[in-house]
């Protein structure tokens, strides 16, 4: 009798969860949204990379600066680093591009090297381009300065 009761309770909980999930399924923001499993959602067009050459604001002081131009086919490998042909210390006078930060010359012990440190060689590990794609989910991030200047909540 007791076993039967436990079984019944478990079953009803399970059923409730499933119905709940189904109800939520439509409102959940996923890449597929509510597309049936057998269907293929129409593919969105590929977003364009921003190419304005205008420096973008950083959301927080330590954020790696964003790349405000296209970097299609830029090679960064053993042979060459295309980014450095404009952003290296030796090249900025001609290119008028911002120089790589001095922190990039430090090895992990904090010693300054003559060239950028090998651990900072792969630029696009931190620095990224931006596209004009619509955000998939709403972002509620608030910048620190905006936060400080907000009126205190009552």
């Amino acid at each position: 009798m007791k076993n039967k009761f436990i079984g019944f309770t478990l079953l009803s909980v399970l059923l409730a969860t499933i119905t709940n999930l189904q109800a939520e399924g439509d409102s959940l923001a996923t890449l597929r949204n509510a597309t049936a499993i057998a269907d293929q959602k129409p593919t969105p067009s590929i977003a364009k990379t921003q190419n304005s050459d205008v420096k973008q604001v950083r959301s927080y002081p330590m954020q790696p600066p964003l790349i405000p131009h296209t970097v299609r086919n830029y090679e960064i490998n053993l042979n060459s680093n295309k980014c450095m042909s404009c952003h290296s210390r030796q090249r900025i006078r001609e290119s008028q591009a911002p120089m790589v930060s001095v922190t990039h010359f430090m090895d992990r012990e904090g010693n300054f090297l003559a060239e950028i440190s090998p651990r900072r060689y792969f630029c696009n590990q931190c620095h990224v381009t931006q596209s004009d794609a619509k955000p998939l989910v709403e972002n509620t991030f608030v910048d620190m300065h905006t936060l400080i200047n907000m009126p205190p909540e009552q």
Binding site: N51, S52, D53, H69, T70, R72, N73, E75, L78, N79, S80, N81, K82, M84, S85, S88, Q90, R91, E115
Partner: protein, 196 residues
């Protein structure tokens, strides 16, 4: 051997005894057309991409690399084939380049870059040759399509417009000075001007 040469020479020097002048002129004319047509057809046949990539050295290395670039696939569907960039379009320059290219036949026969490893080892040397050639002819092959006179700077990004309207316009720089490795991967860029 010397006797044969002598006979041939004497035959050539003698006026024709059997054939009319008209026959000889017309015959020479028709033979000339056939010869020239054949020569030109053969020349054009070696000037196609299909011919270039009939060698695995070209097909597996440089052609594969070209496939990922804007000169292979792009929004308007205009594409550059091997000879568009590597063979001059003007006849005299083309013949000069074709004569140089006979060295490449030698390389093919003796397999100087017949493996990926050999190709990578020689990449810098080969790239330097092409850069020198394009530098010397003021990027002639680029300019066959990319004509400076018709460039609309307002359609370019700020950086591009800035550089094209100054360095390129003044003739101080030519296309290849900045646009290296646009159609194939780069070799080790150590010591190349304009690189780190």
């Amino acid at each position: 051997m010397i006797r044969i040469i002598k006979i041939v020479w004497q035959t050539l020097r003698r006026p024709s005894a059997y054939y009319s002048l008209g026959f000889l002129v017309m015959g020479g004319f028709i033979a000339g057309i056939l010869f020239w047509g054949g020569f030109n057809t053969a020349l054009e046949a070696t000037n196609t991409e299909a011919f270039c990539i009939s060698c695995h050295e070209m097909k597996n290395n440089v052609y594969e690399e070209l496939k990922t670039t804007i000169h292979f696939t792009n929004r308007s569907g205009v594409r550059a084939t091997c000879p568009d960039c590597h063979v001059p379009h003007k006849w005299t320059d083309k013949i000069a380049r074709k004569m140089q290219a006979s060295k490449e036949v030698w390389g093919k026969i003796f397999g100087s870059i017949n493996t990926r490893e050999k190709f990578i080892e020689n990449r810098k040397r080969l790239a330097l040759h092409e850069w020198q050639r394009l530098k010397a002819n003021d990027s002639l092959e680029c300019r066959n399509c990319h004509n400076f006179d018709y460039m609309d700077f307002t359609e370019q990004s700020n950086r591009a417009a800035q550089q094209h309207s100054t360095s390129l316009a003044s003739g101080e720089k030519t296309c290849i000075d900045c646009h290296k490795g646009i159609a194939h991967q780069l070799p080790d860029m150590q010591g190349i001007e304009g690189w780190h």
